[in-house]
């Protein structure tokens, strides 16, 4: 069976991808430029027996999706910068309590109210370190409408399997851009579910890791009565401040990500023979980068291209692979230099780096990147 | 005759078929049960509630209901009023 072709906006593709992944609960709050995700799901969720709710604020929306996920429903919220800041409190709660959920941040200019209708990629570091305390972070950054669909599905899959929140970082350009996409037939994309307990309720411990570092998660109301708290807790779920229990639990939360890099990390590396320049980019800036690389080639300059789809955990190995080959890495991003620092950290001086940065509400153009390529060639 | 016996963490005071249990480990000595007992059955002793006059107990249950600490249980005769 072939898929269904539709002409979708990125935000609509995200909502459609969520439904495909089995999302049955959405809570949100209106915010430009992400609102179409909510509007789409307000229409569609009841038709599949799911629930949509517009909450009183961004904090409440994040809280509600965690509540729904504890009942066993795959849950989504969507937002943009100012709202993303407000999500941080309960994002940390979901990290510590290990409740799967997906947060879409259609990035816009900031700080503060910033540029509501202008694109940006300036929440890269907030996606990594926005909530307080050490915590795992997973962020995916698609660069096309089709990829928003598939990465939304993947965001749910990873979140379910690893019991941790996953952030989908899109931006105003790809969120509002329309492209023809194919919605794959049911069953074509693999859908993962969270691990659920196989032991009887009286033997269930919500954070029991005897079978692996992802503890099975019971649905509230299914007969497994247990306690969930945002305090550090032991395997029974009850609070503890015993140092010998807290340290390994905190480390395990991180290990869920670091021991599953194969599952999470996704990128494309386009290699040109003998290229001495490379570009690392993501999201809509990757589209401009691709065009700039073609233009450079016409001028006889070969440029390698690493397009990151997973931003966190950062694909360090891929950056090192590029740095081992080229002399100069250009990092175009719609911020004043966030991802470039992670590239520098990863490659530890193996190559020079230079950014192409723009925060004026207009996209980085291929010519801007081409100019930089010419400068360093 | 009323008699009190300590069983583990509980002091059991019995009079006829009426029984008042004080779980001493839970009792924080707040005095609420003592103060609001309408017939003055309870006293404080060494910062814990002590069942001093079980024979006067009417099993109104107010000590148990108001105790914030789950420390006192009135296991009654089932008959309200003074036990014979």
């Amino acid at each position: 069976m072939s898929g269904k072709d539709v002409f979708y906006q990125g935000n609509e593709a995200c909502a459609e991808g969520a439904l495909y992944a089995g999302c049955r609960f959405f809570a949100g709050y209106p915010i430009t430029p992400s609102t179409e995700v909510a509007e789409f799901l307000a229409r569609r969720l009841p038709t599949v027996g799911g629930a949509f709710i517009q909450m009183e604020d961004e904090i409440a929306a994040m809280a509600a999706i965690i509540g729904a996920s504890l009942v066993g429903k795959k849950s989504l919220t969507s937002t943009s910068g100012p709202g993303f800041s407000l999500k941080m409190e309960n994002l940390g709660f979901a990290c510590l309590t290990e409740v799967p959920c997906v947060i879409v941040n259609v990035m816009r200019g900031g700080p503060s109210t910033g540029l509501p209708t202008g694109p940006s990629q300036s929440d890269v570091m907030q996606a990594r370190w926005g909530t307080h305390g050490d915590h795992p972070a997973i962020a995916l950054a698609p660069d096309s409408v089709q990829e928003i669909f598939t990465e939304t599905v993947r965001a749910f899959n990873i979140s379910e399997r690893l019991r941790t929140p996953v952030i989908l970082l899109t931006d105003e350009i790809i969120g509002h851009m329309r492209e023809r996409i194919t919605i794959p037939p049911e069953g074509e994309l693999e859908i993962w579910e969270r691990p659920r307990p196989t032991v009887p309720p009286d033997q269930y411990k919500p954070y029991d890791i005897s079978e692996g570092i992802i503890p099975p998660m019971a649905d509230f109301g299914s007969g497994y009565r247990y306690h969930v708290t945002g305090l550090n807790h032991d395997e029974t779920g009850f609070p503890t401040n015993n140092p010998s229990l807290v340290q390994p639990e905190e480390e395990r939360l991180m290990a869920k990500v670091t021991e599953n890099l194969d599952l999470i990390q996704k990128y494309e590396y386009f290699e040109k023979p003998k290229a001495r320049i490379g570009i690392v980019s993501f999201g809509s800036s990757a589209r401009s980068s691709r065009a700039a690389i073609r233009m450079a080639e016409e001028e006889g300059i070969k440029v390698d291209f690493l397009r990151l789809i997973t931003l966190w955990p950062f694909p360090t190995d891929a950056a090192v692979q590029m740095a081992d080959k080229v002399d100069m890495i250009i990092v175009p991003e719609m911020n004043l230099g966030q991802m470039i620092e992670e590239v520098q950290r990863s490659i530890a001086g193996k190559a020079e780096t230079v950014g192409v940065n723009r925060v004026d509400g207009d996209p980085i153009t291929p010519t801007q990147i081409l100019d930089r390529i010419r400068e360093v060639a | 005759m009323a008699k009190s016996v300590r069983k583990d963490e509980t002091v059991v005071t019995e009079y006829g078929d009426r029984k008042i249990n004080v779980i001493t480990r839970y009792c924080k000595g707040c005095d609420i049960c003592v103060a609001f007992c309408p017939v003055d059955v309870l006293e404080m002793k060494d910062f814990k509630v002590h069942v001093a006059r079980i024979e006067d107990c009417t099993e109104c249950m107010l000590c148990e209901v108001r105790c914030p600490d789950f420390a006192i249980e009135v296991v009654g005769s089932g008959k309200k009023g003074k036990a014979k």
């Binding site: 729904a68 009565r225 305090l231 | -």
Partner: protein, 272 residues
């Protein structure tokens, strides 16, 4: 006969963390008896809290329990309830949790009329952090952050809930633990959002600073300074003046949120 609290308390969790004379335990017992009275199934009951002294309550009781972030018990509860409307959802919160940091959620949950029962453990202070004034600390009273007297004015939980559209609103006190139990049971049975203002005491951080006497004095104060709303109508005005009114202030049949959403699902031909 003694009430068998052990049936509802998780083994090994007592004694609880609350200070000597803190009435939170009394309110918790009223909640347990109310749940027993209504006959809620433990597996199908979720108790949700935020942060603070009162919010430690769910940890002690044997249900599906969720101890969330400060002020957020109601939006978490809303997610739980809407995701599975068959669950019984009870939220517990202190006055600061429910009305200050959680104030926005409070009024909007009232407005939404979703079938959740909220019990506000109202002791006029932030106890967990050591006695800072809360939205229900009366004007002029002392707290660690109002060392010269509270310049703020207090919220009246009942009036706030009614103004915001809650369909069941009542008030009782830790002294009146049996009427409180009845109100909570009534609130659980009520289809819609129920707010029960449970007046209780913090002898440690509020009573002592304001010279309100012992835990006993503070509990006894409720006896002398409250009047039931039914009785209040019959008493001469001087007997009612300055007293706190208790009882059921509103019990109104009104379409409930999950029921309304179920109609939307039906209208759109939705199926799960």
């Amino acid at each position: 006969m003694a009430f068998n609290y052990a049936e509802y308390i998780r083994p090994g969790k007592l004694p609880h963390i609350w200070c000597p004379g803190c009435a939170h335990g009394t309110v918790m017992k009223s909640i347990i008896r109310a749940i027993d009275r209504v006959g809620l199934e433990k597996d199908r009951t979720v108790i949700v809290s935020g942060i603070g002294c009162a919010s430690r309550m769910p940890g002690y009781v044997d249900f599906n329990t969720l101890h969330t972030t400060h002020g957020r018990s109601l939006p978490f509860s809303t997610g739980v309830k809407l995701a599975d409307p068959g669950l019984n959802v009870i939220a517990v919160a202190g006055d600061g949790d429910a009305l200050a940091i959680g104030g926005n959620h409070f009024i909007h949950t009232c407005r939404r009329n979703i079938d959740i029962t909220l019990i506000v453990f109202n002791n006029n202070i932030y106890g967990m952090t050591g006695g800072q004034f809360s939205p229900t600390t009366p004007h002029g009273k002392l707290a660690s952050t109002t060392p010269y007297g509270n310049p703020d004015y207090a919220f009246d939980v009942v009036e706030l809930a009614m103004g915001a559209g809650a369909s069941y609103v009542s008030r009782s006190t830790a002294y009146h633990a049996i009427p409180l139990e009845r109100q909570i049971a009534d609130g659980i049975n009520h289809k819609g959002f129920s707010v029960i203002d449970a007046l209780c005491t913090c002898p440690t951080t509020y009573g002592r600073r304001n010279k309100l006497g012992s835990a006993v004095d503070m509990i006894g104060w409720f006896k002398d300074n409250t009047v039931g709303i039914k009785a209040a109508g019959k008493l001469p005005p001087e007997k009612v003046e300055g007293k706190i009114l208790t009882g059921v202030f509103r019990k109104e049949e009104k379409p409930e949120y999950c029921d309304e959403y179920a109609k939307i699902i039906e209208k759109t031909g939705g199926r799960s």
